[in-house]
C-alpha cells in the first residue's frame, strides 16, 4: 500500500534534519525549483488534491482565487490548531515527521510567491510546538528558507486554547492580537485576510501531500484513491477499539476493514453500536451504516455523514449515546465564542437539556424540546460552530431515540 504521510513515522528522531534527510526529506525541492511557480500550481491542480481539515475544499481552487497581478502580498497560514475532540492526526505528524510539513509549506509558499508563513499551533500542543520549532530552526540554519530560489520568513504562533480559532477568520484575528471571534464572509481570507493581505490557509495534513505530488507527479497522486477523493487520509481512531491510534489509509478503504485490521476490532469483541467518522462536527452513523461506508468524501456523504477531519470515534454496545452527546454538547457550549446569540444561548440550552435527560430528570417533552432548539438555532450564526452541534443532536436523536426515551422512562441512565 502507498504511504504518503506516515511512511517514516516509526523512525526515531525524524525531527532531526540529518535523520529526516536520510529518509528523503526535502528531496522534492530540486524538482520544485526547476518548475515555475505557475507550473507548480497547475501540477497541484491536476492532482485533484482536496483539503484535509474538514471542509474538503480543493487546494487548487483556493489558490486560484488569488487575483493575478495584485499588489498585496500573499500570506500562508498553516492551521495546526487541531482541537476537535477525537481528532489527533496532525499531532502525529508534528511529533513524528515535522520536516514533511515544513517541506509541504515550502512547496505551497513557492507556488504562491509567499514571503511570510504563519504556523498557528494549538496551545495544548506544547511538546509538539517545541519539537516543530527545533525542526524548523535546523531547516532555517541549513539555509532552506534563505536560498536564491526561495526566501521566506516563518512565524510560529501558539494559540491560547480556544477551539474556535481553528475557524479561518477567528484564527486570523487571533494572530492579529484579538480574541478569536469569527467574522462574516465575504470577504474571504484569500481576498482580504491576515493584516489585509491575500491569505491562504491550509491544514497540516493537506500540505504534507504536496512533496509527494511534486516528486512523483500529479498523475501518480491522482491514481491513488477513488474518482473524487485522491491520495490517502489519516484516520485518528479512539473509543471502544482494541488499538486506537493514527492510521493512514488509501481513500476508498472500507470502514469495516479499518476497524477490523488497523483498530483491531471493538474492545473485547463487543457489538458495535455507532461510529462518529469525522470529528464531533459530523453526523453519527449506526453500526450498519458505518460498516457499509468507505473512507472517502463521496461515500461518507452517501452513508449520511461526512469524512470531516477523519477523527473516528467508536461506540460499542456498552456506550450511552445520550451521555456521549451530552459531552459533545458541553464542549460546544464551552467553546462558543459568544458573539451570536443563537449559538451562545442555544448550545447552552442543548447542554442543559441533555444533562437533564442523561441524569434521569428529563421528560418526554425534553426530547422534543432538544430537537426544536437544535432546529431553531440552525444556520443562524456567523460561523459553523453551532451548526456542528445541531447535526450531532439531530443525528443522534434520529438514530438512537429509544435510548433517550429509556432515560426518561427509567429516570436514570440504563448504562450505569
Amino acid at each position: 500500500m502507498t504511504l504518503i504521510i506516515t511512511k517514516y513515522f516509526e523512525v526515531d528522531d525524524m525531527h532531526r534534519l540529518s535523520v529526516a534527510k536520510d529518509h528523503g526529506a526535502y528531496s522534492s525541492l530540486e524538482k520544485l525549483f526547476q518548475m515555475s511557480p505557475s507550473d507548480v500550481v497547475d501540477e497541484v491542480g491536476k492532482s485533484k488534491h482536496v483539503g484535509r481539515g474538514g471542509a474538503g475544499f480543493p487546494v487548487w481552487n483556493k489558490w486560484n482565487f488569488i487575483p493575478p497581478n495584485s499588489d498585496k502580498p500573499v500570506h500562508l497560514i498553516v492551521n495546526a490548531d487541531e482541537s476537535e475532540p477525537g481528532t489527533f492526526k496532525d499531532r502525529a505528524i508534528l511529533e513524528r515527521d515535522p520536516h514533511l510539513l515544513i517541506e509541504g509549506m515550502m512547496v505551497a509558499a513557492y507556488a504562491l510567491g509567499v514571503k511570510k508563513i504563519f504556523v498557528y499551533f494549538r496551545g495544548e500542543y506544547r511538546f509538539q510546538w517545541k519539537r516543530f520549532i527545533e525542526a524548523l530552526t535546523q531547516a532555517e540554519d541549513e539555509g532552506l528558507f534563505s536560498s536564491e530560489a526561495f526566501k521566506c520568513d516563518v512565524i510560529v504562533h501558539r494559540g491560547g486554547g480556544a477551539y474556535i480559532c481553528g475557524e479561518e477568520t477567528a484564527l486570523i484575528r487571533s494572530i492579529e492580537g484579538e480574541r478569536g471571534l469569527p467574522k462574516e464572509k465575504p470577504p474571504f481570507p484569500v481576498t482580504e485576510g491576515l493584516f489585509g493581505a491575500h491569505t491562504v490557509i491550509h491544514n497540516v495534513e493537506t500540505l504534507c501531500s504536496l512533496p509527494f505530488i511534486i516528486s512523483n507527479g500529479a498523475d501518480a497522486f491522482a491514481s491513488i484513491g477513488t474518482e473524487k477523493s485522491k491520495g490517502t487520509k489519516l484516520i485518528s481512531i479512539s473509543g471502544h477499539v482494541e488499538s486506537p491510534g493514527v492510521y493512514e489509509v488509501v481513500m476508498g478503504t472500507p470502514v469495516a476493514s479499518v476497524l477490523a485490521t488497523h483498530a483491531g476490532g471493538t474492545l473485547g469483541g463487543r457489538r458495535l453500536k455507532a461510529v462518529v467518522p469525522g470529528g464531533t462536527s459530523v453526523p453519527v452513523l449506526n453500526s450498519e451504516e458505518a460498516l457499509g461506508a468507505r473512507i472517502d468524501f463521496e461515500s461518507m456523504k452517501e452513508a449520511g455523514s461526512l469524512l470531516g477531519s477523519g477523527g473516528m470515534m467508536v461506540l460499542d454496545e456498552s456506550a450511552c449515546t445520550v451521555r456521549f452527546l451530552s459531552d459533545v454538547a458541553r464542549f460546544y457550549a464551552n467553546e462558543s465564542c459568544g458573539q451570536c446569540t443563537p449559538c451562545r444561548e442555544g448550545t447552552g440550552w442543548i447542554k442543559k437539556i441533555l444533562n437533564g435527560i442523561e441524569s434521569g430528570a428529563g421528560s418526554d417533552r425534553d426530547v422534543q424540546l432538544l430537537v426544536d432548539v437544535a432546529e431553531g438555532i440552525k444556520g443562524k450564526s456567523i460561523c459553523p460552530l453551532a451548526d456542528s452541534l445541531v447535526v450531532s443532536v439531530q443525528s443522534f436523536v434520529r438514530k438512537f431515540r429509544e435510548e433517550f426515551k429509556q432515560h426518561v422512562k427509567l429516570g436514570c441512565c440504563p448504562f450505569n
Binding site: E84, G86, G123, G160, G161, S174, G177, E178, P244
Partner: protein, 160 residues
C-alpha cells in the same frame, strides 16, 4: 499584595525578539502573554497592565484576551495544576469516575485548589490524546490510560 511584575532578563530578550518578528506590536499579544504565563504561572492584573503598555493597547484588551483563551490562568492554580479531560472520547473510557476518584483523593472539587496550594484541579474538554484516554495533564506532563491505581501512585508521589 501582588508583587510588581517584571520580565526576567532572559524573558525580556525573548520578548524583544517576538516584538521584532510580528508585523505590528498589538499582534504580539498572544506570544507575549505566553512568556508572562511561563514565568509566573498566571497573568495577574499587574502583569496585564505592563503587557498593555508594552504593546500600546489598553489593559482591558489584554484582560479580555486572558479571559477568552482557556489556557491562561488569571491566578495561580497550585504548584501542581491537574487538568483531567472529561471530553467525549475520555468520557467513553469513564473519565467521570476518575474525576470523582481524584476529587476524593485530593479532598477538593474541580475548580478548587488544596489548602496549602499544592494541587489545583480543573476539568478540560479535550487534550488531543484521545487514543490514550482517559488522560490528564499535570503542569507540562501528560498521563494516559489512567486507572485509579495510577492516580493513587501519581498523587502519592507528588505529595512527598
Amino acid at each position: 499584595m501582588s508583587m510588581q511584575f517584571k520580565f526576567t532578563e532572559s524573558m525580556q530578550v525573548r520578548a524583544d525578539i517576538i516584538l521584532k518578528a510580528y508585523p505590528s506590536k498589538g499582534s504580539a499579544l498572544l506570544p507575549i502573554l505566553w512568556l508572562v504565563h511561563d514565568q509566573e504561572g498566571c497573568i495577574s492584573e499587574n502583569a496585564a497592565g505592563l503587557v498593555a503598555e508594552m504593546l500600546g493597547i489598553s489593559k482591558g484588551e489584554v484582560l479580555e484576551a486572558v479571559s477568552f483563551y482557556d489556557l491562561f490562568n488569571a491566578e495561580q492554580k497550585g504548584l501542581y495544576h491537574i487538568k483531567i479531560c472529561v471530553g467525549p472520547c475520555c468520557g467513553l473510557k469513564n473519565s467521570k469516575w476518575l474525576l470523582s476518584y481524584l476529587e476524593n483523593l485530593l479532598g477538593i472539587k474541580a475548580g478548587e485548589t488544596t489548602m496549602e496550594n499544592r494541587f489545583g484541579l480543573s476539568t478540560v474538554e479535550c487534550l488531543g490524546y484521545c487514543a490514550d484516554s482517559p488522560v490528564m495533564q499535570i503542569n507540562d506532563i501528560y498521563y494516559d490510560n489512567l486507572t485509579p491505581d495510577m492516580l493513587d501512585e501519581i498523587i502519592g508521589m507528588l505529595n512527598r
